[in-house]
Symmetry: C3
Subunit: 676 residues, 3 copies
């Protein structure tokens, strides 16, 4: 079926009707899919119980007649004025109990029955009307769920009931959460305080798990309703915004037929690997590795290929952040996402809107609706994908190194961040530690697989070692005994385990473990520590014969005071005080090995480390040691061949020599696809 290609399309947002013109332009640009209808409940149902469903028909008919498939959205993420007016109690409540005012979108508590009652009616009306339309290939239920934590009375009450069910009695809760502390012992569940004042990490982690479950339950509920209308072959998904606070991508994707997500990334010099740039927002990535990490995270949710429901067309974000791609970058990023497993690319969105909150969130067409440079580049990609056709069907992206991901650890380290940024707690600490290693993979010319801890558990130690010979576990803070013993047994089974800071420090309640750190891994790893320190500025790290480091290698943000108990020191700090601790140590463990990294490595240190972990990468089969700004992605095709993607992440054209001696010219911000 090829890679699906298209955009979100909002015919209803035009000031004049131009559906035909739009669809013709899409067809010419090689579009094969559009997403429709998910934002306009008040158009579907202008008055309570009064439906207007026919406005979409011309879009579906027009798409179908042009061979464009349609993903039909349910419109629940933006509730209509008549609903908020009648039931103000559905407004999502902030920690202090005040209501988030209506006027944007996603400002309601979707666990509230008054919302559910109305949502079900409109879902049934829309799905019932169009499920049989031949254009519809699948459904998106809701949109980027999990934006808000709901502090509503009902949601809190159910949280307390859930705790009662989980812990049974207050004594157990008192003990497990350590409520002796600061006089928090309760003798009745009615005494549980509200999240507003909470200062305990144990409470917060339970609250975050609960909120993520609310989202998964909501999406599951919608998916089941829609499935009761769906035809054979239609899929049900939602589009996941991975940074959302109240979502667990793994459980969310688990109740859906396919993973779909919205990777947004900074462009221009932010995609130039020869430049150092900072992230512009907490929901976009900056840099080449960041783009790949988003794709790898999408793959991780179900360990399979995925749909990109939204991604950059032009500028993204507010009116003050206009940064359209440099020529070439849209193609480059599109191919990068495909190279890591995307089986659909949908830009957000077709046309730039003349009004509304997202007036400056650029579409394929500019405000004038006259095709411009972006349309031309998008159409060029469309033509290329048409040429590729179905050759990438069954593609499975490669991986040299596997990294463990843990949503509970991310939540716990948001409440109790180990790292600081500008003197303040950094809520992105988990990502900073994780990304340090992921970037090491990319910068070393390798490819990464991301595995949820729960997925690793499902495999068991032997299978894990067999399929994932190198496994990095950074910042795995929330982990029960079994998790840590899995890691230990993985190494025993022959895997090379790399542990980063904060791994083996907490337990399943986000308590610090009353054990020598890294817990369960100190003996097997031949190293322990009883102190650690934040550092404000990078500290140079020196390697040795085993782990050769460049002069730029450095430690950042955090240093564990590692004390080797038999492990071999691979690298040390150049610092008058902290020089007494090694930076990296390694130790064989049965059939495998454990390497312990005592700091957050900077890119040079991380890349050298990965280079040592994976001396020969899959990419080496096509290019000898590709160096930034060139990277290579690859994957296996069903016939055993490989698809190779070569990228030049820089503004200078370059030439790459393959192992067969072929010279491949890469434009500035260029890419090249070869089917091996």
């Amino acid at each position: 079926m090829g890679v699906l290609y298209g955009a979100a399309y909002y015919a209803e947002y035009h000031r004049d009707d131009r559906t035909g013109t739009d669809l013709d332009l899409m067809k010419e640009a090689g579009f094969t899919v559009i997403r429709v209808g998910e934002s306009v409940w008040s158009t579907w149902e202008p008055r309570e119980g009064e439906f207007d469903l026919e406005w979409l028909l011309p879009v579906l008919d027009g798409a179908h007649s042009r061979g464009i498939g349609v993903i039909l959205g349910t419109p629940t993420y933006a509730v209509p004025p008549w609903l908020q007016q009648a039931y103000p109690e559905i407004a999502a409540a902030r920690p202090d109990g005040s209501a988030i005012a209506w006027g944007g979108r996603q400002e309601v508590d979707y666990s509230h029955p008054a919302f559910r009652f109305h949502a079900e009616r409109v879902i049934r009306a829309v799905a019932g009307r169009y499920a049989q339309h031949p254009a519809v290939i699948g459904y998106q239920v809701d949109n980027e769920p999990g934006l808000e934590l709901f502090h509503n009375h009902g949601a809190f009450t159910r949280f307390v009931r859930r705790l009662q069910q989980q812990y049974g009695d207050t004594e157990t809760l008192n003990r497990e959460w350590g409520l002796t502390y600061w006089s928090h012992r309760i003798t009745d569940f009615s005494q549980l305080w509200r999240p507003e004042g909470n200062t305990l990490p144990q409470y917060d982690l339970a609250w975050r798990r609960y909120q993520a479950d609310l989202t998964t339950e909501f999406i599951d509920w919608q998916a089941q309703i829609v499935r009761s209308y769906a035809r054979e072959g239609q899929f049900v998904t939602t589009c996941i915004s991975y940074p959302r606070p109240a979502a667990d991508d793994r459980t969310l994707a688990g109740v859906l037929d396919v993973t779909a997500g919205n990777p947004y990334y900074a462009m221009q010099d932010h995609l130039d690997a020869t430049k150092d740039t900072a992230a512009l927002t907490n929901w976009t990535t900056s840099g080449v590795a960041g783009l790949f990490r988003q794709a790898d995270r999408l793959f991780s949710s179900r360990q399979e290929r995925f749909l990109v429901t939204e991604t950059n067309a032009q500028s993204i974000d507010g009116s003050w952040e206009n940064r359209p791609a440099w020529p070439g970058q849209l193609r480059q990023a599109t191919l990068a996402l495909i190279s890591r497993g995307a089986s659909m690319i949908e830009y957000w969105h077709w046309h730039t809107l003349p009004y509304g909150t997202e007036t400056y969130w650029g579409g394929v067409l500019p405000h004038s609706l006259k095709p411009g440079r972006v349309y031309r580049e998008v159409a060029g990609i469309g033509a290329e994908l048409a040429r590729i056709g179905d050759q990438l069907d069954g593609f499975v992206p490669d991986a040299d190194v596997t990294l463990l991901w843990s949503n509970p650890s991310r939540w716990a380290l948001q409440f109790f961040p180990p790292l600081a940024v500008a003197g303040q707690p950094d809520p992105q600490s988990y990502e900073r530690i994780f990304d340090a290693f992921h970037r090491g993979v990319i910068d070393a010319g390798a490819q990464a697989r991301i595995l949820h801890t729960e997925q690793a558990r499902d495999l068991g130690p032997e299978e894990l070692a067999a399929r994932h010979p190198v496994l990095i576990a950074p910042a795995l803070y929330v982990a029960d005994d079994a998790d840590l013993e899995l890691l230990r047994d993985y190494a025993a089974a022959g895997g090379h385990l790399v542990i980063g800071v904060r791994t083996g420090y907490g337990d399943q309640e986000a308590r610090a473990r009353v054990e020598v750190a890294p817990a369960r891994l100190d003996g097997p790893g031949g190293v322990h520590y009883d102190e650690y320190t934040n550092i404000d500025a990078p500290i140079p790290v020196t390697g040795g014969e085993t782990l050769v480091l460049s002069e730029a290698a450095a430690a950042t943000a955090w240093i564990d005071g590692l004390i080797p108990d038999g492990a071999q020191t691979l690298a040390t700090y150049d610092h008058p005080q902290l020089g007494r601790f090694p930076a990296v140590v390694t130790h064989p463990h049965d059939a495998g090995r454990i390497t312990t990294v005592g700091t957050v490595p900077n890119p040079a240190l991380a890349a050298s480390l990965v280079g040592w972990l994976v001396p020969t990468t899959i990419a080496d089969q096509i290019v000898h040691n590709p160096d930034l700004p060139v990277t290579v992605s690859s994957g296996l095709l069903p016939d055993g061949r490989r698809a190779w993607f070569l990228f030049n992440w820089s503004g200078q054209e370059t030439t790459v020599k393959t192992v067969t001696g072929e010279s491949i010219a890469l434009d500035a911000f260029g890419a090249h696809l070869m089917l091996g």
Copy 2:
């Protein structure tokens, strides 16, 4: 009558009575005017309905006996405790509905009838008592109105009723505001959401227009009451703080007899043109051009001379911002304001207060009340103005270049700022773009006139071209078709139109236009664009033979991707990616010309551009190409002569040669006035 000269005088704020001493000192300092009484409602009316009006008499009598005129204030900006206690509902409400607590001033909703009832009574009492006093030359009603947007229930209800009246039905509102977007369509005006949650620029612009109208209506209401008491020859005004969020200076001044305003500016090195300094607050300017812009804005409100009701005497602002002028600067700034049209200069205030919020807002006298350096400088200026006498009566300040100002554009770009500052939306984006050009005028040695768009419309294209041969329209974002066609026709009629970024992009509803940009001006200007980008760091701009640029010329903040359709390129960016767009282009249009500037010019670029627009300035008639730190202001006198003001905005004394060969020595921070 000469230029009025004096200060706000609060005899009632002294801890001991010293009215006589004060007035004697004022007389010696050449004062001819004071402003009194506007801050102390609880003194005028200590208990509800109980008036104490006699305390002011000694001040009026004392002033009159010394030949000092008095501007009598109405005390409505500071409501008394007994009023807030009895009617808490008059407290101004914040977006979330909570009341702004009483305890400062201007914390009430002056559109509320319970406030109006009491305000009217005290206004009538004060005006009734003193209108006939011979010292009174005019009235100030209220004080710096427009500090708060009123989110009170009554104010919101009337807003909805106004929308109903303006748009007629919900379908029209849905269409004009684009309420299909994010499910915002309403079917009854009662469904309109409150501003707290609003995210739509269309709603916000209507809200801002409404709030400004509330202020104009309130001031008009007060003015009418006061006029019913006023004697022939007494004027009615209010003092305008131009940065206030809920005020439109043009409509406000339109209901008054004369414009009065409060230009505050940073002093010390901030007035040194050889130094680069940033603004200290969002209500003060930094730099020489900033001071002139404040004066030019005051002139713009009514296109006539104006009163300065408040301006720096000593330090201004809070206790942590003490920055008294360097010796000479008070005189320099006073003459600069006069040179641009001020017919009165009143310092704020006579004496520095021993208590209260403004304890560190310095007056002419320090806390000790012993005349010090500031008094001596103020008295020196007084003596100089006495010598000048009535020679400046009828003075009209000159202008070489005209700039269009648009309050609605300013409001729209506060909600949707195109520029960023430190990664955040910059609510001062409008001013930044406007000031870039205004500073170009000053730095080029020219003089500026500022014209409200509505005033330009009143002139029509021919008259506009005749009176204002060079017209710069920066950031004219909110503009209806007629506005843009006026600009086009202005050029056709022989004017030289210069358009800056964001001009021709929006319409009267702050919608992005569904037209090729710059809308209506792309054809006549021979250029269009379909993309634009923010830039984080300045990008050098290179000129050519037509537009010669210094090496320092650079683009800042924003670049439109200009694509010439016949226009001549005058300047280009030195940038690997953005170099594909010209920075400045120009194109003849009928009898005139349109020059399109694709960026926010830095001072060097803006000054060169203005130098090209106005090869010969009025100032050139007295000094050949005056260069910073020297500037020249001028204006016509009724007898046809010019008054010339020479300024040295630096700490080094200098000498200026006039066209007649005369050498004029200018002190450090000195100024020189010549009647041509």
Copy 3:
């Protein structure tokens, strides 16, 4: 009895019982004291009126059997869930009246009778049960009181009643607070506005004084209850956190038997005198002088030795601020505190907690509970203190220079800060000005005594001059006439008075004085000023023959425009505008002298100034001119000998030569004690 040595001990926070193990480890570490029981009301009283008092007995018995004394805490700072559930009205209210949510600690209004009723019951239960236990040597009532200002209705009502009592009638209040200003005159005390909206410094100072009195009254109330149970020889104290907003250390300590406090300080490079570091929080100090200032402040509360109830063991503060001491620093800081008067050192806390808000606030033991580096260092200090034994009994720390401290001035300058930091008002302005001089003392190799203004008043001018020959009065903004006349008479009596900026500017109502500044001291000091300015960057200061300055000497933050009226100029600014004012002047006054410093001196200027004030320090008796990073502390022993403490505040070892020619080697971050 020797210096008491130990830690706060929370046996109840362990996940497993290990009281015996802990106490054994403490014994081995030389501990002689622990603090217990103050945090767990919900453990003492699990249900309303149901007490469980026996859990502590094993701790007391175990301590007693090992010769460890116990300080028993009352648990009132952390109220149990059952109490907050039943009486939500005791929640401390914020300025807007909203309740601070329960969930941390210290979130209740302890002036509320519903709180007091329950607090008294639990205090009586705990004290009644254990007062007779032989291990108990004293009591700590509550913990770090004064965290919140209580805006509760009852607290506000009593504030109004207090004003009524203090001022008698509204006319007096109107006059004293200057309520004519901005229409704030009231005619009935019921019209007094709430603090939320207040903008007047006079009101705020009264509010702050009231809130501090609430805290003192509360602690006094508790102390009296506890004393009714206490045995002969047991002391009652509370642990003071000096930066708390609602506490006056002098009056607090006045109702207790001994001062106890919690000096926390930044370690690592922050205690390296060769490095320049900024404070990490507003409740910790950075730098060597900062640590000494904390000790000197503790001494000042009662002008006698004090207990350190809490201080750094390992990392302090949140999860993102892990900065354990460099080896040696714990000992160094412990000895520094002792050298300035500490008769007890208790670390906070024994073991790092596995859960709760303070999971990353490090204890003597790490999370693993296995003794590590910190335990070893702590035990080393314990052994050293054991060797010293009772030799320091009766020790009185020395002082070369005395500095005046004023809590009301600190409060007033928090509301109206004279200094800015990053363009914003700096709420730490008072400390910045005070610390500039205190650091001058330390950097000059001298020792400081801090005296509350009220204590100085008690001495009278002659006694003050006799005991404190050099007296620095920085930022004494809130001062009545008698205070200023005391300073004047002190100089007349032979003292050398040094006044810093803001001294002599305000009165007891925080009004600016209507007098020539510095009020009452201008004549005697031979200098006055009528203007002042903030400065953004340091300005070099040049000395002369009398006051020799290094090149690094500079003015910071603020400059008074001093105009000498007979005083001798000692130093001047190197600045084109401000150079017209002297920086430091001095003038004899009767038997003494007044030196006026017109700026906030940087360390180099302050140290030179102190060097001139005290040409020969006490430390010179042991080492000639000790230079940073070496400092010397000392004190008199009852037998007339001196105890000398030598410190090396750097990472390089060094050798110090004593006046007798002895060479003393000091380790990196080392210290050496000699009994003279």
